[in-house]
């Protein structure tokens, strides 16, 4: 009851005209940043940091928070319309979202992404209000061995990402992990595959690879197509139909829960939540073959999950004072400017800020829904822009986006290289999604395993002695072995392929 009371008070605080104004500015800015590929919430917040000295603390923080979840709304827009993920967390939305757009169903895809985001964000918020301290403690129990086991379990999800041949998907995931090993060795600090090129010391960034692999390559593939071949001209509806809602209800529910849990574990990023949500839907779907060919579940689940995860991602920061990524570190800095040291006593010492922020997120999510629904009509007209205008614009935005993300010309080169690589991959039917998963999970898994082995002085038993690690190791084994029993799904493609002459 106390929690509800505090939350209600928080909403009231956040509803004061000044806070509303800052909140609206934040979510609007967030949406725009989400739509632009490359530039992410971290870059935008960094630009706004100097304002911290002049703005009232709560209002300023409300704006920064608005940017972060606003970006999760906007990120899906370009994924669906032109196959360029606006944010890395919308990569997986490209698979089915863009397929839907090509079938003339961009409206329902954008609609379900907005509704799913709203539901995921709002439910996760209530979860944070009630469960933050307990979940924070749970998160602390994840040390390197637990991460390693959890990520290994996550990798088994890989097999559900592919809708083509499994061997090619595995090859791509391996290639992604290999690519992720470029740069400084995270444990010893020695350069790997850098060829003494300075920019490669930091590794191959996720953002430029994704922009090249999805956006630029899509333009190249379509260069030879005649107008009208790429998108069906007839637009079938602006909003999700009743059937769409029926199909999406459970994916949204599961996406919320999954996103919320993944987000609460420090160090797992939002991208992983979206991949996991997609994989779960495909696994339990009655028609997994529709995934990747415009299944609305494949848009609803990950878009819900990324909002839920970005909401619960605040738990480690707000209840323990531990920033877990670049965005949370920036907010940590912003709180420090105002002398509000986030730590274990933050909720107790600054309840007005904590509950005010939660309240603002409730209001902000509603604002975003109202803001985004009318925009759908506008966005889908983008698809009617003639290709000779649209395609150069996509390339232009891709390059600008890659550059602004880190102000690094090397990233532009990476975009172009992976644009061409993506083109060849499409021509030879290799899928990009497993590669992105390899790129995301590879380095996390590597550091987790190596740290674990340093802790145990080289004994592999560390992964099986600790309860949480042992649980996930068991689950991973079960996932890998299950196709032996069912012969369906997991190994289906491989078996089918082998049986071909």
């Amino acid at each position: 009851m106390d929690t509800l009371h505090s939350l209600a008070l928080g909403i009231l605080t956040a509803a004061s005209p000044l806070n509303l104004l800052y909140g609206f500015a934040g979510v609007l800015l967030g949406t725009l940043i989400g739509v632009l590929p490359g530039l992410g919430p971290a870059g935008a917040i960094a630009l706004l940091l100097p304002l911290a000295l002049h703005a009232p603390p709560l209002a300023y923080l409300i704006m920064l928070f608005g940017i972060t979840y606003g970006a999760q709304y906007g990120g899906s827009t370009t994924s669906i319309l032109v196959n360029i993920p606006g944010e890395a967390s919308s990569v997986i939305t490209c698979l089915d979202g863009y397929a839907m757009a090509r079938q003339g169903r961009a409206g329902p895809a954008l609609g379900i992404a907005a509704f799913g985001s709203f539901i995921g964000g709002t439910v996760a918020l209530v979860g944070v209000a009630f469960l933050a301290p307990a979940l924070a403690e749970l998160g602390l129990r994840f040390g390197p061995p637990e991460y390693a086991a959890l990520l290994l379990f996550g990798l088994t999800a890989l097999v559900y990402l592919a809708h083509g041949p499994m061997d090619k998907a595995l090859l791509m995931a391996l290639f992604g992990s290999l690519l992720a090993s470029v740069g400084l060795d995270p444990v010893t600090g020695q350069p790997r595959f850098t060829f003494d090129i300075l920019v490669l010391r930091d590794g191959v960034g996720l953002t430029p690879v994704v922009i090249g692999l999805f956006g630029v390559s899509e333009v190249l593939v379509n260069l030879h197509a005649h107008a009208g071949e790429i998108f069906q001209k007839k637009i079938k509806g602006l909003l999700p139909t009743l059937q769409d809602w029926k199909d999406s209800a459970m994916p949204i529910t599961r996406g919320t829960v999954l996103g919320f849990l993944v987000g609460a574990i420090p160090g797992l990023n939002v991208v992983i939540a979206t991949f996991a949500a997609y994989a779960v839907e495909k696994k339990i779907s009655k028609h997994p073959e529709k995934f990747g060919r415009g299944a609305i579940e494949g848009v609803a689940a990950p878009e819900t999950a990324n909002n839920a995860a970005s909401c619960s991602g605040w738990i480690p920061l707000l209840s323990l004072g531990l920033p877990t990524g670049s965005v949370t570190s920036l907010i940590f800095g912003a709180l420090m400017i105002h002398g509000l040291a986030p730590g274990p006593l933050f909720i107790k010492n600054s309840p007005d800020i904590f509950w005010g922020l939660l309240g603002s997120m409730a209001i902000g999510n509603a604002m975003l829904l109202i803001l985004n629904l009318p925009l759908i009509g506008l966005w889908i007209r983008v698809l009617q822009v003639p290709y000779y205008f649209l395609f150069p614009l996509i390339i232009l935005f891709s390059i600008i986006g890659a550059y602004t993300a880190a102000g690094n010309t090397g990233d532009v080169v990476i975009v172009i290289i992976f644009g061409v690589a993506g083109y060849l991959m499409k021509k030879f039917a290799y899928e990009p999604a497993p590669m992105v998963l390899g790129l995301v999970i590879g380095p996390l898994l590597e550091t987790a395993i190596r740290r674990s082995l340093i802790m145990s002085k080289g004994h592999v038993t560390i992964f099986f002695q600790r309860p949480i690690a042992a649980f996930f190791m068991g689950a991973a084994l079960l996932m890998l072995l299950s196709p032996l029993l069912t012969r369906r799904r997991l190994g289906h493609d491989i078996i089918e392929k082998l049986e071909e002459p």
């Binding site: 940091l49 000295l53 040390g143 400084l184 300075l198 920019v199 740290r451």
Partner: protein, 322 residues
């Protein structure tokens, strides 16, 4: 019409260099910061840049260029025009590290830079333990480590940072063996200490303070007296003066900057730091404000910095070339 164009032409190409010399600064200054946006170092430069702009009455634009562990930013500024409009804002140790590891690199702290101002020991690195563990000070740590060489685990930062190197110095000075477990930074190291996965963690004092206040962690030693945790004794006081990689941030310009320009910039930075609101803000954030701008001081600090990092191999510093 033609006359006007000639005037404009003269104003732009002919007269303006003379104006630059006299009226520095008369156009925006670019401050290239070699850290990612939002970190402690970026923040201090952003706060300073904003006040500096008011003092100098021109814009001071912060541009983050964290790629290549700061080497790209350093090269950019080292090769920039020597007119004071391009400055480097960096952790001094970062530039010292790359200069020590590879003296022939395109940007060398001693050869290519003119120091403008150094904020000496701007923040402290702290060694943390759990409040419920048996270690209450550095002595306990050393005696325990002597009994069980290699068994204790300390969570440190990335290779080449002071979070990691200071542990190496402690190991050398006390002749002990502790296992270093590298993480991405202070926050991750503390998370693993709070979760009980390691015995100690190295972190920044500001980030550690709330956890000490909450009674979860204790401070075992700091490398410089901390503004926010004055009770924690330094490594030196506990018998290990060798653990002394103090973090300093520096404004650096390309070498060969005219003396009057150096003076204008140094004076402006000195004035900026004294601005009451900013000073208060820096204090709240836990920064030590010990600004050095005299040429003698700056050269001494830079020499010390080079000497400190010369104790390590390029591998230790994370700058081994392939």
């Amino acid at each position: 019409m033609k006359l006007e164009m000639i005037i404009v032409f003269l104003a732009v190409f002919g007269l303006s260099p003379a104006l630059y010399g006299q009226g520095f600064p008369n156009k925006p200054i670019e401050l290239v910061v070699s850290s990612s946006p939002g970190g402690g170092i970026d923040l201090i430069f952003r706060l300073l840049a904003e006040e500096l702009a008011k003092t100098l009455k021109v814009q001071v634009n912060v541009v983050n260029q964290p790629a290549g562990a700061g080497a790209i930013a350093a090269e950019k500024v080292a090769g920039a025009r020597k007119d004071g409009y391009t400055l480097l804002g960096s952790l001094l140790g970062q530039v010292a590290t790359m200069s020590v590891a590879n003296p022939k690199a395109p940007a060398n702290l001693v050869r290519d830079f003119q120091p403008i101002a150094i904020l000496h020991g701007y923040a402290a690195v702290i060694m943390l333990g759990r409040a419920d563990a048996e270690f209450k000070n550095l002595k306990d740590v050393v005696s325990q480590a002597q009994k069980k060489p290699g068994d204790l685990i300390v969570a440190v930062g990335p290779v080449g940072t002071s979070l990691t190197l200071e542990v190496e110095l402690l190991k050398r000075a006390a002749k002990i063996d502790i296992t270093s477990l590298p993480f991405a930074g202070s926050a991750q190291a503390m998370t693993n200490l709070l979760g009980g996965h390691v015995n100690f963690a190295m972190a920044s004092d500001v980030a550690a303070q709330p956890h000490i206040k909450a009674g979860k962690l204790i401070g075992l030693a700091v490398d410089v007296e901390s503004a926010v945790l004055p009770d924690v004794p330094t490594f030196a006081k506990q018998g290990y003066p060798q653990v002394n990689l103090l973090a300093s941030v520096a404004f650096l310009a390309p070498k060969g900057l005219p003396d009057p320009t150096v003076k204008i910039l140094a004076d402006a930075i000195g004035k900026t730091v004294e601005e009451p609101k900013l000073k208060e803000n820096l204090k709240t954030r836990g920064y030590n404000i010990d600004l050095r701008t005299s040429a003698a001081d700056l050269n001494k600090l830079i020499k010390e910095e080079i000497d400190k990092y010369s104790r390590f191999t390029p591998e230790d510093l994370g700058w081994k070339t392939q």
